[in-house]
């Protein structure tokens, strides 16, 4: 398919790899923020082909992984409510809550539906006026416009039985939290191309300035990732710290203004708890006052409970780039996709799942 196959071309991949081997003279640790990129790197075997001096670590860009246990419990509580149809992206279903997962709730009779788009949930609400339809709206900036659009659409169409359970997180504050950690090991970032498609590139300048860290906005295909890594390494080798955009075919400097407008219409920025990482100031979206009636938290009077995390899961250290999945003593033994201890083992964007399914060389760092 146009714009897709070219970026998987083996010849181009090798040209980039050769150039990377020529360019790299010192050890560098680079974090890709986005879990989609983690999967592409692991699945395509790129980690095994990179120069040994380059260590890729895998960031918190997996919305499923960072959704706090308490919110998963809220979703399960809603799903078990007689009059509610709870809709969610498929990824969320197998993530363990404090007692069970949404999938287990569904098996016991809760009405849980997997949807591809929040806009389908609005249709479902129109078809079932006797029910309350709740969409479990998780995601980063990329998904926020679609989730917001569903609410705008519901209001426009006068759909009264639709609401969203928002669990929205933002990339730049998470980057700052990682860089500000005294243990930080990261020399450069690959920023998530699709997040920047929405938000543009400008919000990364202050991070580059403050921490003198190269940031390269990068796409998701093998050629994209290798070009992004090469751009980062070239900067590092020269001692530079700039913001570069590898993914210019999709990402514009100002981002998608209409999408930003839609986000601003429905959401407001608020402090957020990140599973495994902790609270990061001003790092998420909540439904604002003018769309209060579409906020499941207000509609069902939910009060987020702090829930104790499973101490055996080291997902927090992995997402901060301090550990790799192979460093977890439970990896592949007590924790597998069938019996996960933590979210990164079940999410299609989780680093542990990527290593479990695809990693060939067991190379503990």
């Amino acid at each position: 398919m146009k714009y897709l196959t070219e970026y998987r071309n083996a010849e181009v991949v090798h040209e980039y790899l050769d150039e990377l081997h020529r360019t790299t003279t010192r050890p560098w640790t680079i974090m890709e923020i986005c879990g989609g990129q983690t999967h592409s790197l692991v699945k395509n075997g790129i980690l095994d082909l990179l120069p040994k001096l380059i260590t890729m670590v895998h960031g918190p860009g997996c919305p499923v992984c960072v959704t706090p246990l308490g919110i998963i419990d809220e979703a399960i509580y809603l799903a078990e409510n007689e009059g509610v149809i709870l809709c969610s992206f498929g990824d969320m279903l197998r993530v363990p809550g404090s007692k069970k997962s949404l999938l287990e709730a569904k098996a016991k009779g809760a009405d849980v539906r997997i949807l591809y788009s929040p806009l389908e949930a609005v249709k479902l609400a129109q078809e079932h006026p006797e029910k309350q339809v709740v969409f479990f709206a998780v995601g980063f900036e990329t998904t926020a416009p679609a989730n917001a659009l569903s609410v705008v659409q519901a209001k426009m169409l006068g759909v009264k039985n639709y609401s969203i359970l928002a669990s929205h997180v933002l990339v730049p504050p998470a980057m700052e939290a990682i860089l500000g950690d005294p243990e930080n090991v990261i020399d450069a970032f690959l920023a998530a191309g699709h997040v920047c498609t929405i938000m543009g590139t400008e919000e990364y300048f202050p991070v580059v300035e403050k921490y003198q860290v190269p940031i390269v906005i990068t796409g998701f295909e093998p050629v994209d990732l290798l070009q992004g890594i090469l751009m980062a390494v070239r900067q590092l080798e020269k001692g530079e710290a700039n913001l570069e955009n590898q993914y210019a075919r999709v990402v514009q400097r100002e981002g998608n203004l209409l999408a930003q407008q839609t986000i601003g219409q429905v959401f407001e920025v608020a402090d957020r708890d990140w599973r495994g990482i902790g609270t990061i100031p001003m790092s998420g979206y909540e439904v604002n006052e003018s769309y209060a009636e579409f906020d499941a938290r207000r509609r069902f009077h939910l009060h987020l409970q702090a829930v104790e995390e499973n101490k055996e899961c080291i997902a927090g250290s992995i997402m901060k780039g301090l550990k790799k999945p192979f460093d977890c003593p439970n990896f592949g033994t007590k924790c597998t996709p069938e019996h996960p201890l933590g979210a990164p083992m079940v999410s299609s964007e989780g680093a542990c799942a990527a290593y479990f399914h695809f990693a060939r060389a067991a190379e503990p760092v």
Binding site: Y7, G36, G139, T197, Q212, V250, L258
Partner: protein, 94 residues
């Protein structure tokens, strides 16, 4: 979840108001209904990047080409001896 894939707009199927448009997008022959509200300039034949049922960007063909030129340019620069010019003493480490 940030998965977004490019597809080609094959038809505009509904226009509720000025910006609210829905279209058919082909992903390698598989057709899906896609909301086009966020890409008001997109026309039939354009490639758009689609995420959870919403088109979030129009793919820029000229920019797409540059990824394949970048590596060639690096090669040509190397031939011109760019790599041998003044090595930077900074380590790049913070």
């Amino acid at each position: 979840m940030c998965l977004a894939i490019p597809g080609k707009i094959t038809a505009i199927t509904a226009q509720l108001d000025e910006t609210f448009r829905v279209g058919k997008v082909s992903f390698g022959g598989i057709h899906k209904e896609v909301n086009l509200s966020m890409v008001p300039t997109a026309q039939v034949g354009d490639y758009v990047l689609v995420h959870v049922g919403v088109a979030i960007s129009v793919v820029d063909e000229a920019e797409a080409q540059k990824t394949f030129e970048y590596i060639q340019q690096l090669g040509e620069l190397a031939d011109l001896g760019e790599e041998t010019q003044q090595p930077n003493p900074k380590t790049g480490k913070r």
